[in-house]
C-alpha cells in the first residue's frame, strides 16, 4: 500500500513538472492580467504608472455603479446602447451563422456531389482571410454609390446609404406595417424607459449599418462552423442512416430524428463559440464604423477600448469588460442548460435509482441472513 502511494507521488510530481510551463505561461499572460484588470475596475487609475502604485485610489463599486446604477449618466446610456446593439447582433448572427453553416455542411456531405474539395475550400475561404481586409471590401461594396446599390438600382430599388444609416430595422418594420410612425414615435414608448434608454430606443433593433456587419460576420464565420458540422456529419455511420431509411423514414425524417440528434454536441460547440465570439465583436466595428452612425454599431468591446485608450477612463473600461464577461458567462451557462442531454440525464437518474434499490435489497438480504 505504502509502496503504491509513493509511486503515485512520483507520478504526480512528474505530472506537475510537465504542465508547469503551460501553467506559468497561462498564469503570467492570462491569470495575472485578468486579476490586474479586475483590480483596475475597482480603482480610479488614470493610466500613469502601475495601477498598484500608491497614487491610485480604490473606489469600490463606483465604476460598476456608473455603468448600471441610478446616477450613471452618459456612461450608462452609452453602455446600455452598446448592450442593446450587441444583443440584437447576437440574436441575429448566432442562429443565422449556425443555420448557414449547417446548410453548407449538409450540401458538402452529399455523396453525389462532385468537386467537394473545391467547394469546401471556397466556403472556408472567407474564414481564413483577415477580417480587416474583408471589412474594407465591404466598405466599398456597401458605400452609397457602391456595387450593392448599383445592383439594387438595376432592379428598381433605391438602396439606403448603408454605413451612414442609423435607422433601426424594428423601427422601420413597425413603420412599414403601420404600427407607428418612425419619425414621430408614440409617446407611450418615448416617455418611459429603463437604464438610461427609452423603450423606443431599446426596441430599435439593429440599425441598417449594423445589419451590414451582421451579414459580413455570418458570411465569414459560417466556413469555420461548416467544417465542424462536416466533421460531425462524416462521423455518422452510413448504416444508421440506411437502417432508418429501411424503417421507412423519409429524407426529412432521417434529418430530424437521426442527423440532428447526432449533431447535438457539435451544435452546442458551434452555438457556444458563436455566442462568445459575437458578444466580443470588435474588429469589424473598429475598422468600419467606430461605433457610428448615431452609436448604433457601438459594442461593449469597442466602447471599453475607446473609454480606455481614447479617454483614459481605465476603471470604467475594465468594469465594462467584467460586466460583459458576466453576461457571456450567464448566457453560455443557460445555453448548456438548454442543450443538456435529457435522455442521458434520465438514464443516469434511473441508474442511480436501480443502484439504490439494489443496495437496499442487499441490505435487507443481509439482515435476513
Amino acid at each position: 500500500m505504502s509502496r503504491s502511494s509513493s509511486i503515485r507521488t512520483g507520478q504526480a510530481r512528474a505530472g506537475w513538472a510537465f504542465v508547469s510551463p503551460t501553467l506559468v505561461v497561462l498564469g503570467l499572460f492570462l491569470a495575472v492580467p485578468v486579476l490586474m484588470a479586475l483590480w483596475v475596475s475597482f480603482t480610479d487609475w488614470n493610466g500613469r504608472g502601475s495601477p498598484f502604485a500608491s497614487g491610485t485610489g480604490f473606489v469600490g463599486l463606483d465604476n460598476y455603479r456608473e455603468l448600471v446604477g441610478e446616477q450613471g449618466g452618459l456612461t450608462r446610456s452609452d453602455f446600455m446602447t452598446s448592450l442593446r446593439n450587441n444583443f440584437f447582433y447576437v440574436l441575429l448572427v448566432v442562429p443565422l451563422q449556425t443555420a448557414f453553416a449547417l446548410f453548407l455542411a449538409l450540401v458538402l456531405n452529399q455523396r453525389m456531389l462532385k468537386g467537394v474539395g473545391f467547394f469546401r475550400t471556397a466556403f472556408y475561404f472567407p474564414s481564413v482571410v483577415s477580417s480587416v481586409a474583408i471589412s474594407l471590401v465591404f466598405l466599398f461594396l456597401f458605400s452609397g454609390g457602391g456595387v450593392i446599390n448599383t445592383l439594387l438600382d438595376a432592379i428598381g430599388i433605391d438602396g439606403p446609404t448603408w454605413f451612414n444609416d442609423s435607422r433601426g430595422l424594428l423601427h422601420l418594420l413597425g413603420d412599414g406595417l403601420g404600427l407607428w410612425n418612425a419619425s414621430a414615435p408614440p409617446s407611450g414608448l418615448t416617455d418611459g424607459g429603463v437604464l438610461g434608454l427609452t423603450w423606443w430606443d431599446w426596441l430599435a433593433g439593429p440599425s441598417v449599418a449594423l445589419s451590414v456587419i451582421i451579414m459580413l460576420v455570418v458570411w465569414t464565420t459560417a466556413g469555420t462552423f461548416m467544417l465542424m458540422f462536416l466533421a460531425a456529419l462524416q462521423d455518422l455511420p452510413l448504416e444508421v442512416e440506411e437502417a432508418a431509411r429501411i424503417d421507412g423514414a423519409g429524407r426529412w425524417g432521417v434529418f430530424r430524428n437521426v442527423t440532428l440528434p447526432h449533431l447535438r454536441p457539435t451544435m452546442l460547440l458551434v452555438t457556444t463559440l458563436g455566442l462568445i465570439g459575437t458578444w466580443q465583436v470588435f474588429d469589424q466595428v473598429y475598422v468600419m464604423t467606430k461605433g457610428g452612425p448615431g452609436k448604433t454599431t457601438l459594442t461593449p468591446a469597442y466602447l471599453s477600448y475607446s473609454y480606455a485608450f481614447d479617454n483614459q477612463k481605465w476603471g470604467i473600461a475594465a468594469a465594462m469588460a467584467f460586466v460583459l464577461f458576466l453576461i457571456i458567462f450567464a448566457m453560455t451557462t443557460f445555453q448548456r442548460f438548454l442543450f443538456r442531454d435529457k435522455d442521458a440525464i434520465e438514464t443516469k437518474r434511473q441508474e442511480r435509482r436501480t443502484r439504490r434499490l439494489r443496495a437496499r435489497s442487499a441490505a435487507e438480504g443481509g439482515t435476513a441472513s
Partner: protein
C-alpha cells in the same frame, strides 16, 4: 469494478490535498507577480525627479503619428541634425496607433521622451500627470500663436509647444461660381451673404454647401456668434448660451432649405469628398483639402476664402498637435532642446514645404504667406481661431455631441445643447 472505484476514492483524498497546496502555490505565485508589477510603480517616483543633465549623451526616443513618408523623413532629418550637433542620439518611431502606444508607455513608466499630443487628448494626458510642462524653458516660447498655446494650457499652466496647425476656410468651386453668375465681389463675408450665395449655387444636381458632420465643422459658426461649447478658463460648460442656439439654428436653416447638405447625405465621407465629386459647390474644410484635391480631384478648380464673419465677428476652428515631453522621461533637458530645434521658424517652413502644414510661430507667418500665397485665408485663422474642447474627461461627452449632430437637419437644437450641457456638467463638477 468496485475495486477500481475504491482505489480511486482512496487516491482522491490524497490528490485533493495536493491540489489544494498547488492552488495555494499558484495564488502565491501570481500575487508575487502582481507585487512585482506594483514595484514598477514605486520606482517611477524616482524618475519624477528633474532630468539628469550633462552626464554623457542622452538617447531620446521620439514617437510620431506620421501623415506619410514626407513627414517621417522631415522629422527624422531634423532630429538627426540636432543629434549630430548636440552629440546626443535620437530614434524616431512612427506609431501605428499612437494613443495605444503612449498608454503602454505611460502605464509601464517608460514612455517615449518626445511624442505628438493631439489637442483633443491633451487635457486627459495633462490631468493624469503624463506631460512635463516645459514652455517656460523653451526659447522663444512667446512667439507661438497665443490661441495655439491656449489649446495646450490646463489650469493656467502651458504644457507643450504647438507643432503646427490647420484652420478651416471656405472652398469654392470656380466653375459653379461662374455658372451662377457670381464674381469675386460676391465672396461671402457675412452669414446673410453665405446663405445668399449658397442658395444661388444650389442646382438640382449640386448643393450650395457641403458640411462634414460633427462639432469640428459647425463649431466654427458658434465661434462666429461669440459662443462655444465650454469656457476653458472657468472649466465650465456653456453650451446652452443663446448664442450657441442661434448658431446651430442658422446652420439648420441652411440644411432645411436645401442650400446646404451634410457629407453623408451626398454619400461622402467628409466635406472634401462631396466638394471634389462636385456634389456641392462650396465646402468648409481645412488646409489638408489641398492634398486631397491635388491627388483625387485634380480637374476641379477652386478658390479659398476666409470663413464669413458671424454677428460676433470672424471665427474659425484650429486643429493642432504639440510636442509632448514625458513627465517620466529621464532626458527632459535634452528633450526640450530637441523640441526647440524641431520648432524653429526655419524648420517649420521646411515642414510646410514637405508636407503642407502651417507654422505655429507667428514669426514664420510672413515667409509662409510669401511661399504659399494661396494659403493666406488658412493662416489668417491663426489669429482668431478657436482650438478644440480640451478639458479633461470630456471625450465621451463630445463623442455623444457628434453623434447627435449627425441628425442636425431634423434634430431639436436646444435639446442637443441641453444634453451636452447636462453630460458635461456631470463630468466637470
Amino acid at each position: 469494478m468496485s475495486a477500481t472505484s475504491r482505489t480511486t476514492r482512496t487516491g482522491r483524498t490524497g490528490r485533493t490535498g495536493r491540489r489544494r497546496t498547488s492552488l495555494v502555490a499558484l495564488a502565491l505565485g501570481s500575487s508575487i507577480a502582481l507585487a512585482a508589477c506594483g514595484g514598477g510603480g514605486f520606482e517611477d517616483d524616482s524618475a519624477d525627479e528633474p532630468a539628469s543633465s550633462g552626464d554623457g549623451p542622452a538617447e531620446l526616443q521620439v514617437l510620431i503619428a506620421s501623415s506619410g513618408d514626407a513627414e517621417t523623413k522631415a522629422v527624422e532629418d531634423a532630429a538627426n541634425a540636432w543629434a549630430e550637433e548636440s552629440g546626443n542620439e535620437v530614434e524616431v518611431v512612427v506609431a501605428n496607433d499612437i494613443g495605444q502606444q503612449l498608454s503602454q508607455g505611460f502605464a509601464g513608466g517608460n514612455p517615449p521622451d518626445v511624442f505628438y499630443v493631439d489637442a483633443s487628448v491633451f487635457g486627459d494626458y495633462a490631468e493624469a500627470g503624463n506631460l512635463y510642462p516645459y514652455m517656460d524653458q523653451l526659447e522663444g516660447a512667446d512667439d507661438f500663436y497665443p490661441n495655439l498655446v491656449d489649446t495646450f494650457t490646463l489650469d493656467d499652466q502651458a504644457y507643450c509647444a504647438p507643432k503646427d496647425f490647420s484652420t478651416l476656410a471656405l472652398e469654392i468651386n470656380t466653375a459653379s461660381w461662374k455658372k451662377a453668375g457670381l464674381t469675386d465681389a460676391d465672396i461671402p463675408t457675412t452669414w446673410d451673404e453665405l446663405s445668399d450665395v449658397a442658395q444661388k449655387l444650389t442646382t438640382p444636381d449640386q448643393a450650395g454647401l457641403v458640411l462634414g458632420i460633427g462639432r469640428d465643422r459647425v463649431g466654427a459658426f458658434l465661434v462666429q456668434n461669440g459662443g462655444w461649447w465650454v469656457d476653458a478658463d472657468s472649466g465650465e460648460a456653456t453650451a446652452t448660451e443663446p448664442s450657441n442656439v442661434e448658431a446651430l439654428e442658422y446652420v439648420q436653416g441652411l440644411l432645411k432649405d436645401g442650400s446646404a447638405v451634410l457629407a453623408p447625405d451626398v454619400d461622402a465621407g467628409w466635406g472634401g469628398e462631396g466638394f471634389g465629386t462636385e456634389k456641392a459647390a462650396m465646402t468648409i474644410e481645412g488646409n489638408w483639402i489641398r492634398g486631397a484635391m491635388e491627388n483625387d480631384y485634380p480637374d476641379v478648380d477652386y478658390t479659398v476664402a476666409e470663413l464669413p464673419e458671424g454677428p460676433a465677428g470672424k471665427g474659425t476652428l484650429l486643429f493642432t498637435q504639440c510636442y509632448g515631453i514625458a513627465a517620466d522621461s529621464p532626458n527632459q533637458e535634452a528633450a526640450v532642446s530637441l523640441v526647440e530645434a524641431l520648432t524653429t521658424p526655419e524648420q517649420q517652413l521646411k515642414n510646410a514645404d514637405a508636407f503642407g502644414v502651417m507654422p505655429s510661430r507667428e514669426s514664420a507667418q510672413a515667409d509662409y504667406v510669401d511661399q504659399f500665397p494661396e494659403d493666406a485665408p488658412f493662416i489668417a485663422g491663426g489669429d482668431y481661431g478657436q482650438g478644440p474642447v480640451n478639458l479633461p474627461g470630456l471625450g465621451p461627452v463630445v463623442a455623444d455631441l457628434d453623434s447627435q449632430l449627425e441628425q442636425l437637419k431634423t434634430a431639436d437644437v436646444t435639446g442637443i445643447l441641453e444634453s451636452f450641457q447636462k453630460n458635461a456638467d456631470a463630468e466637470l463638477q
